[in-house]
Structure formats: C-alpha cells, structure tokens
C-alpha cells in the first residue's frame, strides 16, 4: 500500500509564486505528497490562504518581492538546505510589437527570466541544495513549442528561461542536481483571466485543444511533483509539455 515512487516525503521544497494559481496548487499538492514546503510571494493575504491549505507541519512562508535584491537576500538567508526548488513566479502582458515598451519588457524579463536565474545562482553559491536536489522552472509552451499573437515579450522570457534550464542541467549534473521545466498550455488561473480575451476568443481558443478544455493548476502541479520526486531520477534538461495536446 505504501509503494509510491512519486513521494516527496520529508523533501524540503521552496516554491515561488505560491500565492496564486499553479504555485498555490503545487504547494498544496507537494504538502500532500509529504514535502516540507517553503512558500513565497508578495501578497501576504493570499500567501496565508495557501499556507492554511497545506497538509502536515514544518512548512514555512516568506513574503518577498523577488525583483528586490534585499528581499532575495533575506529569502536566501531564511531557508534551510533544499531538496527542491520550483521557480514558478511569473507575469504576462499581451502587446502587439508596435506597443512594446521598455517598462513592460523589463518588468516581464525581470520576473520571468532574471529572478529565477538569480534565485538559482544564489542557492548554488550559498550551497543551499542537498545532493540530488531537483530544480523545476515554470516555463510555457508559449515561446518554446509555439507562439501566439501579441505575446512576444512573454514568449522571449520563457524561451530564455527554458534555455537557462538546459544550461543549468548540464552544469549542475556533476553535483547530482537535476533541472527541468514544465511547459503548460492555457491553465485556468488569474494569469489568463485578465480580460484581454473575450468569451468568444476563449471559446475559439479552446477549440484548438484536442482535449477540448484548458488545464487546471493541479494538472501542472502533478508534473512538477514528478520532476521533484525520485521517480524522475534519470531525467534532467527536459521541457515537459502539459498542454492538452495544443501543440500537436
């Protein structure tokens, strides 16, 4: 009965962007798989909502804006050695090419690309990873497996982090640390419910999905759990599509 190669029993796992959507579902599901999670985000109220839903004890929550260097330093100082890191916080803004501007581009690259790079780099430098640790990046099908109108800034940020993930996988392999990404299609979270697309746009878009629906945050969390667990011990440098078949 207790056979479970996907177990995260006792694994200490830091999850960014845990106050909402995929990060929240990942934190909750990881706790159910036995992990000790450390959750972080900026919004205290929503982070508390996640914290209240965690199963088991020994979890930790840290309020931090990952784009603020002092916050990043404080985060690194307050964490123990990690068995897992989920670089998940991210933002999107849909703007056709001619409306690209420095402010939005820098903001997107900062959160989606630079902060996961710096968080990983700091953890390595401060020797925060245990042997056989697993790092997972929330990338996207967008920018890696497909592109869509108006999302060039987001797509370049995700393609960049996907490339970083592979470079890191190669470089950290000798420490026994694995790096992979999950690459979701459209997932029902606040990120895609910003109102840019009408109900009609949404219906038409869902038609493009062979499985005829958008994904749920848990469906990405389960992929992340696989990559964090020893079940994926021989998997590194993989970009795992979780997309209802949209890229087929």
């Amino acid at each position: 009965m207790s056979y479970n190669p996907f177990s995260l029993d006792g694994k200490i796992t830091l999850i960014t962007g845990a106050s909402s959507g995929i990060g929240q579902a990942t934190a909750i599901e990881c706790s159910k798989m036995g992990a000790k999670v450390i959750i972080t985000a900026r919004n205290e109220e929503r982070l508390n909502e996640t914290f209240a839903q965690l199963e088991g004890d020994g979890h930790q929550k840290i309020i931090a804006d990952l784009t603020i260097p002092e916050d990043l330093d404080r985060l690194i100082e307050s964490i123990p050695q990690l068995d897992g890191l989920v670089n998940n916080a991210g933002v999107i803004k849909t703007l056709p090419l001619k409306f690209i501007n420095e402010h939005d581009l820098i903001n997107i690259l900062n959160i989606n690309t630079f902060t996961p790079v710096f968080l990983t780099q700091r953890c390595i430098k401060k020797k925060k990873f245990s042997k056989k640790a697993s790092i997972v990046f929330s990338s996207s099908v967008g920018g890696v497996y497909k592109v869509s109108l108006g999302n060039s800034m987001y797509e370049m940020s995700k393609n960049a982090i996907d490339a970083f993930m592979r470079s890191a996988a190669l470089e950290l392999a000798h420490n026994g640390i694995r790096c992979n990404s999950v690459n979701p299609g459209m997932i029902e979270t606040p990120l895609i419910h910003r109102g840019t697309y009408s109900e009609e746009d949404r219906r038409k878009d869902i038609e493009k999905y062979p499985l005829k629906k958008y994904g749920q945050p848990q469906e990405v969390a389960f992929g992340i759990i696989y990559l964090l667990s020893d079940a994926s011990a021989w998997v590194t440098g993989t970009s795992l599509k979780i997309d209802g078949g949209v890229t087929l």
């Binding site: 703007l95 056709p96 109108l149 009408s198 746009d201």
Partner: protein, 76 residues
Amino acid sequence: MELQEFIEKFAAQFDETDASAFTPETEFKALDEWSSLTALSIISMVDEEYEVLLKGNDIVNAETIDDLYQIVKSKR
C-alpha cells in the same frame, strides 16, 4: 478626450483600410482588415493613450467606433 482624436488613433491601427472609412458610425468589426491582432492593437492603443484597460468583452459589446469611444470615456 475627443471623439475625432480617438477616431484618428483608432484608424492608425489599420494599414490597408482608407482613413475615410472611419467615422463614429463605422461598424469596425465588419471591416475587411479587422482581425484578432487589430483587436489587441486597439486595446493596447487605448491603454497607452488613455490609460484605460479595455477588456476583450468591451470590444465584443461595441458595434461602432462611437460605442467604443463611449466605453473608454466611461472608464476614464
């Protein structure tokens, strides 16, 4: 904000359609050149020029350029 100026900015999001095609009564979604990219451009233009965040549904609910102008005005 002024309707005439809004129409000019609206028209600037099109490349093929003649400027004379744009009046307050123009049913813009019926224009040949209208596409999902034009819709995104209109939303982005309104955000940049008027600091109003239009929703996809606002575009659906507006028939004419004036309809959309009224929506933008009401959100200012």
